[in-house]
């Protein structure tokens, strides 16, 4: 219980930080601060660091074009998450100005070996990204926003533009599906090792 309590406090801290991301006069400074989180979200969503960066760049450009029409109470991070997701759904990849070929499309985990200790990475982290890409976009978005970005269900519902109840049930299904994609038995083994 203590462990979970600590985790909950950590999430709350992150949400407090999110709540400060209101649209202020110095928009570009706020945007620069947000970019690391947006890149993480876009990478998880698209499965590729390069595609993720294209999505974030397109979202930044759109924000700067439309900054005058933003309401004062607009949450910048929520707006960016939403635009990145919409751009992804709309197939921004095909419109990218960058010329990519198949060789450049590398999964994020292939680029970033996290640990040399095999016991710490019984399930290779690349497999997590691979498994994420096998999920539906709705499930992937829910997992990224809540489990990785630390948004509350209410905040995620606003980004995804669905009721909170939908977010709750979607997240349960997304987690179940991800465990299945990771290979139920392997994941159970991993759980057994970490006990």
């Amino acid at each position: 219980m203590d462990e979970n309590g600590a985790d909950n406090r950590s999430l709350n801290d992150r949400r407090t930080h999110c709540a400060e991301d209101m649209v202020q006069p110095d928009l570009t400074e706020q945007l620069i601060e947000l970019i690391p989180r947006m890149r993480r979200f876009a990478t998880g969503l698209s499965g590729s660091a390069a595609w993720g960066d294209d999505l974030v760049q397109a979202a930044c450009e759109r924000l700067l074009q439309r900054k005058d029409s933003l309401r004062p109470d607009t949450r910048l991070d929520s707006w960016m998450y939403q635009v990145i997701r919409n751009l992804h759904i709309d197939g921004i990849r095909a419109q990218s100005v960058r010329d990519r070929n198949a060789d450049e499309i590398k999964l994020v985990a292939d680029l970033r070996p996290v640990s040399t200790d095999p016991m710490q990475n019984h399930i290779r982290l690349g497999e997590v990204n691979d498994a994420m890409q096998l999920l539906s976009e709705e499930h992937r978005s829910a997992l990224m926003l809540i489990c990785v970005e630390g948004l509350s269900y209410k905040e995620a519902a606003e980004v995804l533009q669905v009721p909170m109840g939908t977010v709750t049930s979607r997240l349960v299904r997304a987690r179940k599906s991800l465990v299945e994609k990771l290979g139920g038995e392997s994941f159970e083994l991993e759980l057994g090792m970490s006990r």
């Binding site: 219980m1 462990e3 979970n4 985790d7 909950n8 406090r9 999430l11 709350n12 570009t28 945007l31 620069i32 970019i35 690391p36 989180r37 890149r39 993480r40 990478t43 998880g44 660091a49 993720g52 960066d53 974030v56 760049q57 930044c60 450009e61 700067l64 994020v108 985990a109 970033r112 996290v114 990475n121 399930i123 982290l125 997590v128 990204n129 994420m132 997992l143 990224m144 809540i146 489990c147 990785v148 509350s152 269900y153 709750t168 049930s169 997240l171 349960v172 987690r175 179940k176 991800l178 465990v179 990771l182 994941f187 991993e190 759980l191 970490s194 006990r195």
Partner: protein, 214 residues
């Protein structure tokens, strides 16, 4: 365990429950091994997701974003600067018209004074300073700075003393280095015999042979 219980444990894991909800989940966890196993599964899943994607967040912001935002910020700034600069120009024009005579007079006086100071620096330095040693002068107002360095000394056939020197002038617009030869016509008076082009000023003084045989 049913879907409703899974949703409850999921919300518990994500910190979304109030006190009553948390108590309900804790009771469930205490009595149900499957519930405990499911919670461990969620915690492990979150750990794996963070381990996979957090490294992206910890990378430095790529240059493409900094360039994009810097460019946009510059453009945004220009929207303010252009009208502000226009207004400032108009105001300045009015002030200039009113104060033109005064400013012209002040500028002329300052320029004349500066020229005299630099000329005096050259004369005094050539009169009193050995070759290789520099003497400088800094304008009391503005950023103008002058330095004179005698390079060598000669005697002409008619027994006059002449000195080659280097003059370095620096102001807000940059630095100008020139070399010249001045000959003494009286105490503390060293008019130029010649001034060499500024583009020759960069040559090394160490290997310089005597400039002229006068």
């Amino acid at each position: 365990m049913n879907d409703e219980q899974r949703a409850l444990i999921s919300a518990f894991n994500d910190g979304q429950l109030d006190g009553q909800g948390r108590e309900a989940v804790m009771s469930l966890l205490a009595e149900n091994a499957q519930a405990r196993s499911y919670l461990k599964e969620l915690v492990e899943l979150d750990r794996l997701l963070h381990s996979t994607f957090d490294p992206v967040e910890q990378e430095p912001v790529p240059m493409r974003f900094r360039s994009l935002l810097r460019k946009k910020r510059t453009h945004a700034f220009r929207h303010f600067v252009v009208p502000a600069a226009l207004a400032a120009s108009l105001l300045l024009a009015v002030v200039l018209v009113i104060r033109q005579d005064t400013i012209d007079q002040q500028m002329r006086e300052q320029l004349l004074q500066m020229t005299q100071e630099i000329a005096s620096l050259k004369h005094q330095t050539l009169e009193n300073t050995p070759s290789g040693k520099a003497v400088s002068w800094v304008a009391p107002v503005g950023q103008t700075r002058a330095e004179v360095r005698p390079l060598s000394t000669f005697r002409t056939k008619d027994k006059r003393f002449c000195r080659e020197y280097e003059e370095r002038l620096e102001d807000a617009n940059g630095v100008e280095i020139r070399r010249g030869i001045a000959c003494r016509t009286g105490k503390g008076h060293w008019p130029d015999l010649t001034r060499l082009p500024s583009d020759s000023a960069g040559s090394s003084t160490a290997d310089r042979s005597p400039v002229v045989n006068l």
